[in-house]
Symmetry: C2
Subunit: 359 residues, 2 copies
């Protein structure tokens, strides 16, 4: 049985209507919709319209401010700290990235730490904002604590993704965007829905034993940092997740570690916060602050072309250049539409009914 | 049988004498020695005095310039590109990091890409230079191609390490410093010397099959990116290694990917270079360009303390905070001396004889 397919424009119109219904100013509703649906287009289904009702539930609990007064708290020529005023990360992060880009235009690079925000969709969206300006973009965020550091049984970190977008000339841009865990939480959600086992090394039980049950994190267990176990470098995945946590939140004044407010509305945020909301860290570097942009982009073409033609192991037809699968998916889905899981469709129908809309 | 132990001061004096013998100006010889021996102190034996004869062999082949004219090729308020003039990375990288720190002092952050350099010792040394200034330090470098991208059988990337150093107040600094492969090459060298097997997931054969032979990379095989295989996220380790390669060398104008000159002097650099030497990328961010330094460092104390007391899995007594093992090792070795592998001792004796010195 195939999942029902929806045209991008249909989903866009619906998401926009919902964001407006909860009180987002028009321009912010457009921005939030654009970030949210970019995930569906790029094939990162866990971060797209499937999350729309989750954002609405947070708004109902007064944990999302649909009309935030986002502002700069502090700045230097190449840095800023932004207070998201509890707004949607989908709106706050692009606001902050624009500041990073503007600073890069003036002094070569711009780095913006954000506090008092919420989940920002896919990290890649924000990093890619730098590309049309011939800049390199960087985006990271912390998230609900689901991940245990190496040797621990406590959930102290989020899946804390990092995205890096680097422009090329004739080749498409290099766009890496990945959770710093062995597997993204979205992949576990897919296995949960299908009632399938996870590979060992993705999750651990409440006692810290590797497990194949994708539901472990709901039963006191945890996700595992990239590397899977100490022998295969999970301490490096822990370093990465910690780095993202500190840049996003200790630098900005947001909550970090186990104090990060959970995304799900049925869990309350910790009663002893160490900062405000969740945090992001966004950066832009003007390529020609280092060397002429044309020269850089020609070399990026050489880099990408060389890796693209690398000899493969038997049974694989290509080396995947970061960003290729998502770009190809976007081309396909813009033409052929976006398949939605039936559970997501039900969820959106209920959401529509709630606001006297139709889905 | 225990390895013979040498006092730090003895090794320091010897390394300094060698760097002076090959023609390093006095201040550069001191700097190179300090970086090199920091690796031995911190327990990263593969990057310390064990490499001294390797640097000398590169100098003999005219691939290392012992008296380089290091200079800034291009700059903006927050960025610079440095030409290392084929100098020792041990000297070039600290020079570049000083520029990054100076720029951070003025405009909040400083980012320096370096070309025409050589191996720079441990990445952590350079990142940690930021700490006394209440700055966050970042250091990365590319290296001899030993690593195959996911799905490939070709060695196209180095072990490309990343280091991030973050100051705290009462707690020691957070210092992550790790190769972007499942296992650092130094760990494989140790297994080679002991004639022991490697865990599956560290290396692959020339056909791309996972192998336990630590010598695979010398027989046409390759090291594997962090993650070990596609199912466990090796494509993320590939993204990390690629990111380091591009920031270090495409941004600076150095060689990247398979064009990076090999560290071993018996292999010639590619005859069709795409840039100059190897590349590094160094950064410094002034903490108070984001929020007051005291506030930041107090929160770092909270972060570190919370992770330090995390409940552990049975059989483990603590969660390791990045930087702890190396700092503890340094305290121990400063007092009790540095053990050297007998092969390394033989190598240093031969080196000494070459220059009419005694070891």
């Amino acid at each position: 049985m195939n999942d029902p397919i929806y045209r991008y424009e249909y989903l866009e119109e619906f998401a926009l209507a919902i964001f407006e219904k909860i009180g987002c100013p028009s321009q912010q509703a457009v921005q939030a919709t654009d970030v949210l649906l970019k995930a569906d287009l790029r094939g990162i289904d866990s971060h797209g319209i499937a999350r729309l009702s989750g954002y609405v539930r947070l708004w109902k609990k007064n944990r999302v401010n649909s009309s935030p007064d986002i502002r700069v708290l502090h700045e230097s020529p190449s840095t800023a700290v932004v207070d998201g005023d509890a707004g949607l990360g989908l709106v706050v992060a692009p606001y902050a990235m624009e500041i990073a880009i503007e600073k890069a235009r003036k002094v070569g690079t711009g780095w913006v730490a954000v506090n008092n925000s919420n989940h920002f969709g896919i990290a890649g969206y924000h990093a890619m904002m730098a590309l049309p300006h011939d800049m390199i973009g960087v985006a990271m965020t912390n998230a609900s604590p689901l991940v245990a550091p190496t040797f621990s049984v406590e959930r102290l970190l989020g899946t804390n993704p990092i995205a890096v977008a680097i422009p090329a000339d004739k080749q498409p841009a290099f766009v890496a965007d990945f959770a710093t865990t062995t597997a993204a939480n979205g992949k576990l959600e897919i296995l949960q829905r299908k009632n399938q086992a996870a590979p060992l090394g993705w999750v651990q039980t409440r006692n810290g034993k590797s497990s194949t049950d994708p539901n472990e994190a709901k039963m006191g267990g945890a996700l595992i940092p990239l590397g899977s176990d100490r022998e295969h470098g999970s301490h490096k995945g822990f370093c990465l997740g910690a780095w993202v946590d500190i840049f996003s939140s200790v630098l900005s004044g947001a909550n970090y570690g186990p104090w990060v407010p959970p995304f799900v509305s049925f869990l309350d945020p910790p009663s002893d916060p160490v900062g405000k909301g969740i945090g992001h860290f966004l950066g832009a570097m003007r390529v020609d602050a280092f060397r002429p942009a044309a020269e850089f982009k020609t070399n990026m073409d050489t880099w990408i072309s060389r890796f693209r033609i690398a000899r493969t192991v038997e049974g694989e037809d290509r080396v995947v250049i970061p960003g290729d699968p998502e770009r190809e998916m976007e081309e396909l889905r813009r033409m052929e539409g976006i398949p939605l899981n039936p559970q997501v469709v039900e969820d959106l129908k209920a959401l529509a009914a709630n606001f006297n809309l139709v889905f």
